[in-house]
């Protein structure tokens, strides 16, 4: 595990859910774990939805005071420099979607590169229409890298159809993920699936990482 894990990807690819779950898993091995929510794109569905869960597990949340407050401005947290200044922290950076979201790394990049103890992961989902095939995914990846001015080090295959995700749908995404991996020369570091279907996929998918999906305010109201 690197000290800093950067999670980036296409808008709506599942970055926040993955960030929260990764933090919970890192917390089992490390004392000081933090999520830095640096999303400057979306005012909704932020890590703050999981604040209670993070608090209960002793995970620090570095997030703008304005996230989930309906103040619709791309604000950054005042304590974001803890990510690079406090070397005792194991940090997961939840970055906003697409190239626009990745712009935020401009400020932290020099220190992250200097320390050189990070991994930068691209979250992909075959079932999102703008990343439905490997060439389109490569394009999104290149746009993000250009905006971040940093290179990815690995891929998280988070191919899913929300609550309709089946084990078959995940299996059907594996050739796509392989193709993205080949095209980008990046390893698939994990395949994330909602925990309900994880047992069906044990032994069939390498580096399987079950996700406990965090409910947002909409999902708490409707089926």
């Amino acid at each position: 595990m690197k000290r800093i894990t950067l999670i980036l990807g296409h808008y709506g690819s599942g970055k926040t859910n993955i960030a929260v779950n990764l933090a919970l898993s890192y917390r089992k091995e490390r004392e000081h774990v933090a999520i830095a929510d640096l999303d400057i794109v979306n005012p909704y569905f932020r890590t703050k939805d999981s604040l209670d869960l993070l608090n209960e597990n002793g995970i620090r949340l570095i997030v703008s005071d304005y996230a989930n407050t309906n103040i619709d401005i791309p604000a950054l947290p005042q304590d974001m420099y803890a990510v690079t200044d406090d070397k005792s922290l194991t940090c997961i950076l939840d970055i906003g979607g697409d190239d626009r979201g990745a712009l935020v790394l401009g400020r932290l990049r020099p220190e992250i590169l200097k320390e050189n103890d990070y991994e930068m992961l691209l979250v992909i989902n075959k079932y999102r229409p703008l990343t439905a095939d490997a060439p389109a995914t490569l394009e999104v990846m290149q746009e993000i890298e250009a905006a971040a001015n940093m290179r990815f080090t690995g891929i998280i295959n988070n191919s899913n159809l929300g609550r309709e995700t089946t084990a078959e749908a995940v299996l059907a995404s594996l050739p796509y993920a392989e193709e993205v991996s080949k095209l980008t020369s990046l390893p698939i570091v994990m395949t994330t699936v909602k925990e309900e279907i994880a047992p069906e996929l044990m032994g069939k998918v390498e580096n399987l990482f079950p996700l406990a999906l965090q409910k947002n305010f909409i999902e708490s109201k409707i089926n």
């Binding site: 808008y11 709506g12 005012p43 909704y44 569905f45 309906n70 619709d72 989902n125 079932y127 999102r128 229409p129 703008l130 439905a132 899913n160 159809l161 929300g162 609550r163 309709e164 089946t166 078959e168 749908a169 059907a172 305010f217 909409i218 109201k221 409707i222 089926n223």
Partner: protein, 350 residues
């Protein structure tokens, strides 16, 4: 299964519009509908279409007027405050009998309000919104799948009746992600002999205009337009009924309120309460028939809305005030909970 994709409601609108043959989008960003514009910005250049972020909402709606005059499928999208700005242009579209799609992903108001979901533009949408005697065809989706399908339907109806159609969604519908199938049929646009496409010196030139200074002429135009509206009422009214056959209580709800209400209906049925749901899909024309029918066998209708009570007026008119119609609501960006609706049902059942 394999043909489904995972989309935000806003993205589904954009992709469905492209499927419907829309190649011109003009807009201006505003939460919670910005993904429509962002998606169009990515897709349109790749398919030879035009995405243009206008300098204002007013500019955007007038660009829509221009492309609609040329007979092409065209759209704009915004959220509540932005729709008010477009109001003048929407009235001009109606006055010139131009087919176009306007999407409103509503947020709480009035004024700038907030960025959370709302249904408080019901009056504005169903009564016209701008000045003058006119209507828009107003379609209210309650799932991401319907965001896509009703967008296509809106283009078809707009062309068929030379009217502006509105997809009236809310912040929840725009932001939620659901699996959606984009595999649906699209009726291509009809011939538009009235469009200003150039005469090539072969025909008399067409004029598209909403200015009509001779009162006798303007009266005729208004009457002819309302005769067309009557056809829309007869042919295009859409609604869904859920468990209404033996219902003693009816819920009236559209959009996100209908999703919440369906949960409450299911829960109430488990407790033996005979309750059903009438979900208007077209808000204009309003589905009067199911409410008139319901008034014969229910003892109360509960209108569930994300506003201070707007659709409730149409429900009362449609049910001819034969049964009490009560309101169950949240406002300002708040969403009623299934428990709140269930409580209203249980209270009505006593």
């Amino acid at each position: 299964m394999a043909d489904k994709v995972l989309m935000k409601g806003n993205e589904a609108i954009a992709e469905a519009a492209i499927k419907a043959g829309c190649r011109h989008y003009f807009g201006y960003p505003i939460t919670p509908q910005t993904e429509v514009a962002a998606y169009m910005a990515k897709r349109m250049p790749k398919i030879g279409g035009t995405f243009l972020q206008a300098e204002s909402e007013i500019a955007a709606i007038n660009m829509v007027y221009g492309v609609a005059s040329a007979g092409l499928r065209v759209m704009t999208s915004s959220s509540s405050p932005g729709i008010s700005l477009k109001g003048e242009g929407i009235s001009y579209l109606a006055g010139a009998d131009l087919p176009a799609l306007v999407v409103n992903v509503q947020r709480g108001g009035p004024g700038l309000g907030g960025i959370q979901p709302s249904q408080s533009d019901y009056f504005q949408s169903t009564r016209g919104g701008g000045h003058g005697d006119y209507h828009m065809i107003v379609l209210a989706p309650s799932s991401v799948q319907e965001m896509a399908e009703l967008t296509v339907k809106a283009f078809e109806l707009a062309d068929k009746y030379r009217m502006t159609a509105m997809v009236l969604a809310d912040g929840t519908m725009g932001q939620m992600m659901e699996p959606v199938s984009l595999d649906f049929d699209v009726t291509p646009p009809p011939e538009k002999p009235w469009a200003t496409t150039g005469t090539e010196m072969k025909r008399k030139h067409n004029i598209v205009n909403s200015l009509s200074l001779v009162p006798e002429e303007l009266e005729k135009l208004n009457i002819a337009r309302f005769e067309r509206y009557e056809q829309v009422k007869q042919n295009e009214t859409r609604y869904e009924e859920y468990m209404m056959d033996d219902a003693e209580i009816a819920i009236a709800a559209f959009g996100i309120a209908a999703r919440v209400s369906k949960n409450a209906v299911n829960e109430a049925r488990k407790r033996g309460v005979k309750v059903g749901l009438i979900r208007p899909i077209t808000l204009w024309p309003f589905p009067e028939a199911p409410f008139k029918k319901a008034a014969e066998h229910v003892k109360q209708i509960i209108s569930v809305e994300l506003n201070m009570g707007q659709m409730i007026e149409d429900v009362r008119l449609a049910s001819e005030c034969k049964v009490p119609v009560t309101l169950c609501n949240r406002v300002g960006g708040m969403i009623p909970s299934p428990e709140q609706v269930l409580d209203a049902i249980l209270k009505a059942s006593k």
